[in-house]
């Protein structure tokens, strides 16, 4: 029972991480560009970081449907809210990663005739991503835990499943402890994975 909830938690988080990285990379690059995109990215980051994920989830699940005149399934709403939230944090991480790359890398690539896009894609981002593995890992562990907030829209992830089971068994101590333990196993696995990635990628970065 709890494990099917854990499975959904992992699923939600993985999808949100995937879209979070894409959204965050675009945001991070936009933050360093010139023109209107820069402003847009800054607003996005400020608004998302400045409001609770819980409220963001409510807006997507209850607010958005009334705006577009169509219901949004809880699963889609959860993925949407978590991805948008994660994208803002990853955006700041990516921005700092890009800025940490020596200016000489840009100059060398430019002097060879590479375009800005080619330089970003082949020179800057590969190095930046290696450097930001640790903060990205932190972000994903936080996301794994924060995903429990989507239980409020009746999505039966780990926490919600725990509540349901307690409702039937009246054993809150055992069940919440079990829930905590499962979270710990998941976050611990992620942090070991991040350590491994970091060790594997850094010898030549």
């Amino acid at each position: 029972m709890l494990l099917t909830g854990a499975k959904l938690t992992v699923q939600l988080t993985s999808i949100a991480v995937f879209f979070g990285i894409i959204l965050g990379t675009l945001t991070g690059i936009a933050r360093l560009s010139k023109g209107p995109l820069r402003m847009l990215a800054a607003i996005y980051i400020d608004v998302i970081r400045g409001t609770p994920l819980l409220v963001q989830t409510f807006i997507v699940f209850y607010g958005l449907p009334s705006l577009i005149q169509r219901p949004i399934p809880a699963y889609v709403a959860a993925v949407l809210a978590l991805s948008i939230n994660s994208g803002a944090y990853v955006g700041e991480i990516v921005r700092s990663g890009i800025q940490s790359i020596d200016k000489g890398q840009w100059e060398a690539a430019s002097s060879l005739g590479l375009s800005n896009y080619q330089t970003m894609r082949h020179i800057i981002l590969p190095q930046a991503f290696r450097r930001i593995i640790p903060p990205l890992g932190n972000e994903f562990i936080a996301l794994l835990k924060d995903s429990s907030l989507v239980s409020v829209i009746a999505l039966e992830e780990l926490v919600r499943k725990g509540q349901i089971i307690i409702g039937r068994t009246f054993r809150p101590f055992e069940i919440w402890t079990a829930v905590a333990l499962i979270f710990f196993v998941m976050t611990f696995t992620v942090s070991r994975l991040v350590d491994y990635l970091e060790r594997r990628m850094t010898p030549h970065a």
Partner: protein, 242 residues
């Protein structure tokens, strides 16, 4: 000889600091021009303006008669102007061979096997063929700079710009880099070299340009300029370093 590069009345300032104050110079194909001068004289800035790593404040640059314009032809012209940096600026996440083949493959769409074959030839030319599969951080400074030269050559540039290529090297490694540069000069490559290596200037240079305070003070054949500097500032500079 045909003129390959022409700089007209170049000015560059960083905020209030005037670094270049009206520099005009012409470079012929096949010429080896060495730019010397005290630090802060604007020699590196001049070099970096040639391929617009620094945007000139005023003035214009013509490459093979064509006005260099960041809005239209800059990428194309940069492909024809190789540059070697003081700090090498190799790509640390790529193996030596990939450092060299990246630009031809991306920019000229050269097929990988062809690019690697050419890359290995160039590595052979700088004496580092056995390092093709190494990463830059496994090489010494002198080796890194030789790889950087091979990387610039891989684009078959018409002009090579050297920005103090030996200044970040341990003394015992300077010779190996200068030797490679000498070979390039003998091949007839057009080179513009900012350096403090007066021996190189004398031996290899076709023309030496002495810069100070953002202007060209004096230029001429190295024999002439080193033996009989006409300007007081040139005399003062040379007397300090020779």
């Amino acid at each position: 000889m045909p003129k390959i590069l022409e700089v007209r009345e170049l000015y560059k300032s960083f905020d209030k600091l005037q670094v270049l104050q009206g520099v005009s110079v012409q470079i012929d194909a096949g010429e080896v021009v060495v730019i010397i001068g005290p630090s802060g004289s604007g020699k590196s800035t001049l070099l970096r303006c040639l391929n617009y790593l620094e945007q000139p404040t005023n003035g214009s640059i013509y490459f093979k008669g064509e006005l260099v314009d960041p809005k239209s032809n800059l990428l194309k012209i940069r492909q024809e102007m190789g540059m070697v940096f003081q700090n090498f600026n190799l790509f640390p996440h790529l193996k030596v061979i990939d450092n060299i083949t990246l630009a031809p493959r991306l920019v000229h769409s050269t097929a990988k096997p062809l690019a690697e074959k050419r890359g290995l030839e160039l590595l052979g030319q700088v004496g580092l063929q056995e390092k093709a599969r190494s990463f830059p951080d496994e090489l010494s400074g002198g080796q890194r700079q030789r790889v950087a030269i091979a990387r610039a050559l891989a684009m078959d540039p018409e002009v090579l710009l050297f920005d103090e290529p030996t200044s970040a090297l341990d003394p015992e490694m300077i010779g190996e880099v200068l030797e490679v540069m000498k070979q390039l000069a003998l091949e007839g490559r057009t080179m513009i070299v900012v350096t403090h290596e007066m021996g190189f200037a004398k031996e290899v240079g076709d023309r030496v340009i002495f810069m100070d305070e953002g202007v060209i003070v004096e230029e001429g054949h190295p024999n002439e300029l080193f033996a009989n500097p006409k300007q007081k500032r040139t005399q003062a500079f040379l007397s300090k370093i020779l």
